[in-house]
């Protein structure tokens, strides 16, 4: 880590100790966050590479770039890497790890060694996943549907299932650490009603980590046993029930969608008040809607199975429950909008991402309602409409929030500003590239193009060319921050402790923080987001 001479004068968590051992054996939540940042970014680019190959294959109607079998592996591994090794750990393990103790005025997470252990589990599982890829990959789709995955696929299902099984324990330990830390380690005066909304959303995420992930673990363990010992638990020829697998799988994997989006919502709830210079509108509602999403999110899983043979009455109930999730989600969108109303808005890079999030998440969320409607779902089930919908939520939502948060807290993490002009350029590039990639897929899906095929009828080509063009723009948009953020580590402007004039305890300590975060444990006597009491930064930093 290249830290320039100017910063070395003040001791901080980056220069307190040196050498590779001091990083690999660290129990400092801030260093572990940076370890996660590097490894999660690595998997993001691996997953992105698969996405690019998928889009290149779909540039032409004929299956000409890769074989059909290879294509199956590409979309499977794109999904598995992006979901389990990028999206799920992204904000909680990087920003959450860094910020949860700082935002509540604690010196560290409750269990620092377990925090380090969770990173090693992640690395071990990631290594196993890479081994699975280089030894031939897996072609079941990221969902591992049985009996294809247990009885028919000749690919590396066992390795992939084991990798994701192990990786789950990394999530569980992170969630456990967050829950205990938030309950037991808050600074004096920091009541539940004064907590930043980032903390509330991470609390909600932790609940899902803790209650959902073990179910996925046991499901994949059963798949593993079934393949290795030939048991027949999910094999219909021997009385097993594939639907049971789908129920168990989606019991985790639908709430997993909220694992991806809730932290982003927390980030947006921090950014919007800061760049509107206003207290968040309806604090209690935003906080409780996070918990609401986590709770209702556990009751909607079977909307993935409307055409899989569940009873009509079950489908009706799950359809209604899925509609219910829209209520807390809409509360958030309306409250962010109301926060901006008559605010003093400045459009810095984090705010651009936050605005992008609000718009794209709204589209992603509303198309989710189309899919929750039984009739429409039968029509667009397993088409590109579904692909476009969940990419609007996961990429347009979750990744936008992640990028916004990374820019917002970058000065705190590194002590340096990223170049603002490049930041804005990248944010706009990502927004345009994203829409060009995925909006055509809504149309393709509505026209009837099914997902997971390497070939398609020629009349769909125009939309596919647009989508592939968008994907290349998106790739440039993601590479830009990679370059200028590394650049800023050495050449960026010195940030100061609170460049945004932001509320929140993390801004009341130095940048980068000292190893124990605060010289003296702070005592909180104010409400969250008290922007009427904080002066705006004198000069908006410009790159």
């Amino acid at each position: 880590m290249a830290t320039p001479a100017v910063q070395d004068e003040r001791p901080n968590y980056l220069n307190s100790t040196h050498g590779i051992r001091s990083w690999l054996l660290t129990t400092d939540h801030k260093r572990i966050a940076l370890l996660y940042l590097m490894s999660v970014t690595f998997f993001f680019f691996i997953g992105g590479l698969f996405a690019l190959l998928i889009r290149l294959e779909l540039l032409t109607p004929a299956g000409d770039l890769v074989m059909a079998d290879t294509y199956n592996k590409l979309f499977t591994m794109h999904g598995q890497i992006m979901v389990f090794f990028f999206l799920i750990p992204s904000i909680p393990a990087i920003l959450g790890n860094f910020l949860v103790p700082m935002m509540i005025g604690a010196k560290d997470l409750a269990f620092p060694k377990i925090n380090l252990l969770s990173w090693y589990i992640y690395i071990f599982a990631g290594g196993l996943m890479l081994y699975c890829i280089v030894t031939g990959g897996v072609d079941t789709g990221w969902t591992f549907y049985t009996p294809f995955s247990t009885a028919f696929s000749h690919t590396q299902v066992v390795e992939a299932a084991l990798a994701i099984f192990i990786n789950g324990f990394s999530s569980i330990l992170t969630g456990l650490n967050f829950v205990v830390t938030i309950h037991r380690m808050r600074a004096p005066g920091l009541t539940w009603r004064r907590l930043p909304l980032f903390i509330w959303s991470h609390y909600a995420v932790s609940i899902i980590f803790l209650l959902g992930t073990p179910v996925l673990a046991i499901t994949l363990l059963l798949v593993f046993f079934e393949r290795v010992f030939n048991l027949g638990i999910f094999d219909p020829t021997r009385g097993g029930d594939p639907l049971l697998f789908q129920h168990l799988f989606w019991f985790y994997s639908h709430p997993a969608v909220y694992i991806m989006i809730l932290p982003s919502m927390g980030v947006v709830s921090e950014i919007v008040p800061c760049f509107s210079r206003k207290r968040i509108f309806g604090y209690e509602f935003v906080a409780m809607s996070s918990i609401g999403i986590a709770v209702i999110g556990f009751l909607v899983w079977a909307h993935h199975m409307f055409v899989a043979g569940i009873s009509l009455y079950a489908a009706l109930i799950f359809s209604v429950l899925s509609y219910l999730v829209a209520v807390p989600s809409a509360i958030k969108v309306f409250n962010w909008t109301a926060t901006m109303y008559k605010g003093s808005i400045s459009l810095d890079t984090p705010m651009l991402y936050a605005l992008g999030f609000i718009g794209l998440f709204t589209i992603g969320g509303l198309t989710g309602l189309f899919l929750a409607a039984l009739g429409v779902d039968v029509h667009v089930h397993d088409t590109y409409f579904v692909i476009a919908h969940f990419h609007y939520v996961m990429v347009g939502g979750a990744v936008m929030g992640y990028m916004g948060g990374l820019h917002f807290w970058w000065p705190k993490m590194t002590g340096r500003m990223y170049p603002e002009i490049w930041g804005k350029l990248a944010a706009v590039t990502i927004f345009l590239g994203f829409n060009l990639t995925f909006f055509p897929q809504f149309i393709l899906g509505y026209l009837g193009m099914p997902r997971r095929y390497w070939e398609y009828p020629p009349e769909f080509q125009v939309w596919n060319v647009l989508s592939t063009a968008g994907a290349s723009i998106l790739a440039v948009g993601y590479l830009l921050p990679m370059v200028y953020m590394i650049w800023s580590l050495r050449y960026g402007k010195i940030a100061g402790d609170n460049p945004w004039g932001a509320a929140g305890l993390e801004w009341k300590t130095q940048s980068p923080p000292i190893t124990s975060n605060f010289e003296v444990t702070p005592e909180v006597t104010w409400e969250a987001y008290n922007y009427d009491e904080i002066p705006a930064p004198e000069e908006v930093p410009v790159g």
Binding site: V215, G239, L248
Partner: protein, 235 residues
């Protein structure tokens, strides 16, 4: 008041206090809550398998009931008693640790370890019986002996294999937790030997005990579900 603050300073200097906690009280609360939360995840972990069990038991009742009758109920009963005894020694051990009674604590932990190992040994005998009877799912799986014992109830070998798959998966997962528990109690034995526990520090014993009780409770559910499905005669 002066007394409490003096106590607080004393606690501040306690050698077992980690740097990021304000005092021993906070550290103990955090560790205990951490274990409770972890046990919550364990419930969900076993829960998935219990659900699979429930689905197939309702669907294939005859195979499950006859399969259940083929298991030695006496071994299961003895194991239940053994585990309940171990829970007693653990509960007494937590009290002994709290009161700083080193010798008593060491004896109780060793008794717990003996009960735990006895459970695993008896479980091993039971599994070996099933292996000899060709009731282990796989290529040599065969239920002709169970079918012969119930000639008037046609049994589907695939469905019976589901019962035994779940039997081995559930008891195997439980045994794995027992082995981890024995590892934890070996560590606690070492700590007790060193005289680490006393009135102001016995958290490891308490959360180790929580874990042990949890593993016992899982067995309290497994025993009726796997051994006592239907004890009346099936023709």
């Amino acid at each position: 008041m002066a007394e409490t603050s003096a106590l607080a300073t004393q606690e501040h200097e306690h050698s077992d206090l980690q740097h990021h906690f304000a005092d021993m009280e906070q550290q103990k609360e955090a560790s205990t809550l951490g274990m409770w939360v972890f046990l919550g995840t364990e419930i969900m972990f076993f829960g998935g398998m219990f659900l699979a069990y429930l689905v197939y038991r309702l669907k294939y009742y005859n195979e499950f009931a006859t399969g259940s009758q083929s298991i030695d109920i006496w071994l299961g009963t003895i194991n239940t008693i053994v585990l309940i005894c171990s829970s007693l020694t653990v509960a007494l051990g937590v009290k002994a640790a709290q009161r700083g009674k080193r010798k008593l604590l060491i004896v109780l932990i060793i008794l717990t370890l003996i009960f735990g190992l006895a459970f695993l040994g008896i479980k091993g005998i039971e599994w070996y019986q099933k292996y000899q009877e060709h009731h282990v799912p796989g290529i040599s799986f065969n239920i002709s002996d169970i079918q012969a014992a119930h000639p008037h109830t046609p049994l589907n070998p695939g469905h019976a294999q589901l019962y035994f798959s779940l039997y081995f998966a559930l008891t195997g997962l439980h045994a794995l937790h027992m082995i981890i528990g024995i590892g934890i109690f070996l560590a606690l034995l070492w700590m007790a030997w060193k005289g680490r526990f006393g009135p102001d520090y016995y958290t490891p014993m308490e959360i180790g005990g929580l874990y042990w009780h949890f593993v016992d409770i899982v067995w309290i559910y497994l025993f009726p579900l796997l051994y006592l499905i239907d004890r009346k005669h099936i023709p």
